[in-house]
């Protein structure tokens, strides 16, 4: 891609207790990140509905991130295990659909892992810049 830098739009679903906290910690540590990320806060990764993930793609997300507490650390016992099972299913669907697998990613990030959060966002943004806008993005949307 030549000329002006295109900035993807990445939607991340974060659980209140861990990954949202990880994003906060990244901020407190002043780990600089691309401005591509939009966080949707939910209480637990178990609330991340695959329907909302698809909806985000169809609204125009270039990538969607599913994040939560590390396995075993969920504040509601095992919400992230449920999220994991749903995610695996979703991942298979995305593959079958023919959407590039990089556009859907899962990561467990604790509230203390600010640097990990920032690195994750940098990596994903770089990958998506390579890929270009999502083929599911409606015309004229950004």
């Amino acid at each position: 891609m030549a000329g002006t830098e295109w900035e993807p739009k990445i939607v991340a679903f974060c659980c209140n207790w861990c990954s949202y906290g990880g994003a906060d910690t990244a901020g407190m540590g002043r780990f600089q990140q691309p401005s591509s990320l939009r966080i949707i806060r939910v209480m637990c990764s178990g609330r991340i509905d695959p329907m909302h993930v698809f909806n985000a793609f169809l609204e125009g997300a270039d990538a969607v991130l599913v994040t939560g507490c590390h396995l075993g650390d969920c504040h509601y016992v095992n919400g992230n295990y449920k999220a994991q099972v749903r995610y695996q299913f979703l991942e298979e669907m995305v593959r079958e659909l023919g959407l590039e697998p990089e556009r859907l990613q899962l990561n467990w990030i604790s509230a203390s892992e600010g640097e990990k959060f920032a690195n994750f966002i940098r990596d994903v943004t770089a990958q998506i810049k390579q890929l270009g806008p999502s083929p599911l993005k409606p015309e004229g949307v950004n």
Binding site: N55, L58, K82, F89, E92, M93
Partner: protein, 383 residues
């Protein structure tokens, strides 16, 4: 008294019923006996309109049951939803039975109160396609047909003036007719998930054509048969080794053929083209919701998560309605073909669902509709 696991040959004692029956009229007689003796309050029968159309109705009239024999190969309707909320006995193709069991997992059906006499099924045909086939391949006026039969791989039609014409099913299917696509690669031909598994495979020698092969699958199946025998509606004898062997052999051969069909019908689409393929297929969707209405697995009422997106159809590049349906059902899809049959704009909904469902179910070694043990939704597979 019969035992669970018994493999029997049997027929209706009433000669009319035996004659009218596709095989030995046993299925009809067993259903009638269950009603007669008060095991159930009603029986699901197919009310025949013509060769290509029949309406499932629930009757509490034993005579009406007795008159309902015969197999209708061009009536692919699914009977599942007739079992919902009632105390009935019903016949059922493997996909009917699977639907009932999926409903039971979602509290739609109480299996304790539902008796299912399973029918072997090599596949059924779409009525519209069958009419067209009669004109094109058989050169018979569909209205003249009075009977139809499958023998030695050939589909035979009889006309009102006593003529018969047979064409091999392979030939028909090569030409795009014959069984519905999903039937061709269906993996359950013998309904081992029903209470009884009945069919004509394995009925040989002098009984051929006038007896039904019947396997007792569980306690309820045993009750059904014992009841019919006691009521004097049927007679049964153990099937010999040869019968059993032939039934197994035909079944394996059919399953193998099914695998080949699967390869041909679910052809791989290149990574780069798949997304476009799906977008294009769903682009025709008019959000009528008919496919969800007929789905035997879905228990949702009028409102559900998928219908929330009907009004948004225009904004998106891809049908969100279908995405949500895929999310909710492709783990439990039984491939019955109802959605494709009903779609007014001819979206191959079933084929698309199978493309998602097949690998997902295989990966988890999960076959929906076969028993109550495995929970319906993938998320429940957490341990």
């Amino acid at each position: 008294m019969v035992g669970i696991g018994d493999k029997l040959l049997g027929y209706a004692t009433n000669p009319d019923v035996r004659n009218r029956g596709a095989s030995g009229g046993l299925v009809t007689a067993v259903l009638a006996a269950a009603l007669e003796k008060g095991m159930v309050e009603g029986v699901v029968v197919l009310k025949r309109i013509d060769e290509y159309e029949a309406i499932p109705v629930i009757t509490d009239d034993v005579q009406e049951v007795l008159a309902s024999g015969g197999s209708m190969h061009a009536v692919p309707v699914n009977l599942t939803k007739h079992a919902v909320g009632r105390k009935i006995a019903m016949p059922g193709k493997p996909c009917d039975v699977r639907g009932v069991i999926e409903q039971a997992k979602r509290n739609g059906v109480d299996l304790e109160n539902t008796y299912i006499v399973g029918l072997n099924c090599g596949g059924s045909m779409h009525p519209v396609v069958t009419r067209e086939m009669l004109i094109r391949m058989y050169e018979i006026d569909p209205e003249d047909v009075v009977g139809e039969e499958i023998e030695k791989g050939k589909l035979i039609f009889k006309t009102k003036d006593g003529e018969e014409k047979a064409i091999s099913i392979d030939e028909l299917e090569e030409a795009g007719y014959g069984r519905r696509e999903n039937c061709r690669y269906c993996t359950i031909k013998i309904p081992t998930n029903a209470d009884l598994a009945c069919g004509n495979w394995g009925v040989i020698g002098e009984l051929a054509g006038s007896a039904t092969f019947c396997e007792v699958m569980n306690e309820k199946g045993k009750r059904l048969l014992d009841n019919a025998i006691e009521a004097g509606f049927i007679e049964v004898q153990p099937a010999d080794e040869k019968s059993i062997a032939i039934r197994n052999k035909v079944n394996s051969a059919m399953l193998k053929l099914g695998d080949e069909w699967k390869g041909r019908l679910l052809t791989e689409i290149h990574d780069q083209e798949r997304l476009t393929y799906y977008i294009e297929q769903f682009a025709d969707c008019i959000d009528c919701g008919a496919c969800r209405e007929v789905c035997p697995v879905c228990t949702c009422g009028e409102d559900s998560k998928c219908t929330m997106f009907h009004s948004l159809a225009d904004n998106y590049k891809m049908s969100m309605y279908h995405m949500v349906r895929l999310l909710h059902l492709s783990d439990s899809c039984i491939g019955c073909g109802q959605c494709s049959d009903i779609c007014p704009v001819d979206i191959p909904v079933t084929t698309i669902f199978r493309r998602f469902a097949d690998p997902a179910q295989k990966k988890r070694d999960y076959s929906p509709g076969m028993d109550l043990q495995r929970p319906p939704f993938l998320e429940l597979m957490l341990k």
